[in-house]
């Protein structure tokens, strides 16, 4: 499995790491907001926007690699995770704006905890060969 990773996965670089870190920071920030009984603030929405840009860039990198002839280990699952991934921050933003209470911050927190998991799953579906 490490051999496959060494071949250079397009979803395993700086963008993926940055997305995971940003998402976790955002999760922590919104958790603090929720605990302090604060609705989603500007920074949460800005954070979701930046996260979405990072994920879109990640998707573009993956698509460029695909156009270049590289193939994920599990193509079906890979595309499923990729599509889901870029939909997550907008989902959080829409639901958070509908709920301008502490629970809106809770929604941002929940989605930002799920996002890193999806990024990791995305990496796994690229690397597993013949799985």
């Amino acid at each position: 499995m490490t051999g496959a990773a060494a071949a250079g996965s397009p979803v395993d670089g700086f963008l993926a790491t940055a997305s995971i870190v940003l998402s976790l920071v955002l999760a922590l920030w919104s958790l603090v907001s929720a605990v302090r009984n604060r609705p989603p603030d500007r920074w949460q929405l800005v954070g979701l926007g930046v996260l979405e840009l990072a994920l879109l860039a990640l998707a573009v990198v993956a698509l460029v690699a695909l156009a270049g002839g590289e193939r994920p280990g599990e193509p079906g699952a890979f595309f499923g995770y990729l599509v889901t991934l870029v939909c997550l921050p907008p989902l959080a933003a829409v639901l958070a704006r509908m709920e301008p209470t502490r629970w809106g911050s809770g929604i941002v927190c929940a989605v930002c905890l799920v996002t890193p998991v999806v990024v990791v799953r995305l990496q796994q579906t690229w690397e597993v060969l013949g799985g």
């Binding site: 499923g80 939909c87 639901l95």
Partner: protein, 141 residues
């Protein structure tokens, strides 16, 4: 909507506050379970028909539960109540069965091993759903 009881300005509905967070988590699980089931059924249904059919059922339940909570009102609540109950029974039954008889579920489902693959959230979710319906029960009276 035609329900006269609903016109009496419900104090609490299922689609506000904590309910909206619950709906968000249900949506996440609906997406996860639906895409997983669709992929499994489309690519390798013969390998584990029971497990993959169950994935599809679980996916449907998450979707309907989310819709029921979001719609609120009498019908929505009843729908959500039915879904959360089936979900709780399902996750417990499949959890026990998947441990007792591995041959029955050769591949993972959302509910295998009490949802351990999903951080046990599938086990907690129906309990939270039922608790939330109980907390907001006055709304529909």
């Amino acid at each position: 909507m035609v329900d006269t009881a609903e016109t009496a300005a419900p104090r609490r509905t299922t689609n506000r506050g904590p309910g909206r967070l619950l709906i968000a988590v249900y949506i996440l699980f609906a997406i996860a379970a639906t895409s997983r089931a669709a992929l499994q059924i489309a690519t390798k249904f013969d390998e584990a028909p029971v497990a993959y059919s169950l994935s599809a059922v679980a996916a449907l339940i998450y979707i309907v539960a989310a819709a029921g909570l979001a719609r609120a009102g009498h019908a929505g609540r009843r729908l959500a109540l039915a879904c959360c109950s089936v979900e709780l029974v399902g996750v417990l039954a499949v959890g026990v069965l998947s441990l007792a008889d591995k041959a029955l579920f050769p591949d993972e489902t959302v509910w295998s091993q009490f949802g351990s693959g999903y951080g046990y959230v599938p086990l907690v979710l129906p309990v939270l759903g039922l608790a939330w319906l109980w907390r907001t029960r006055d709304a529909s009276r």
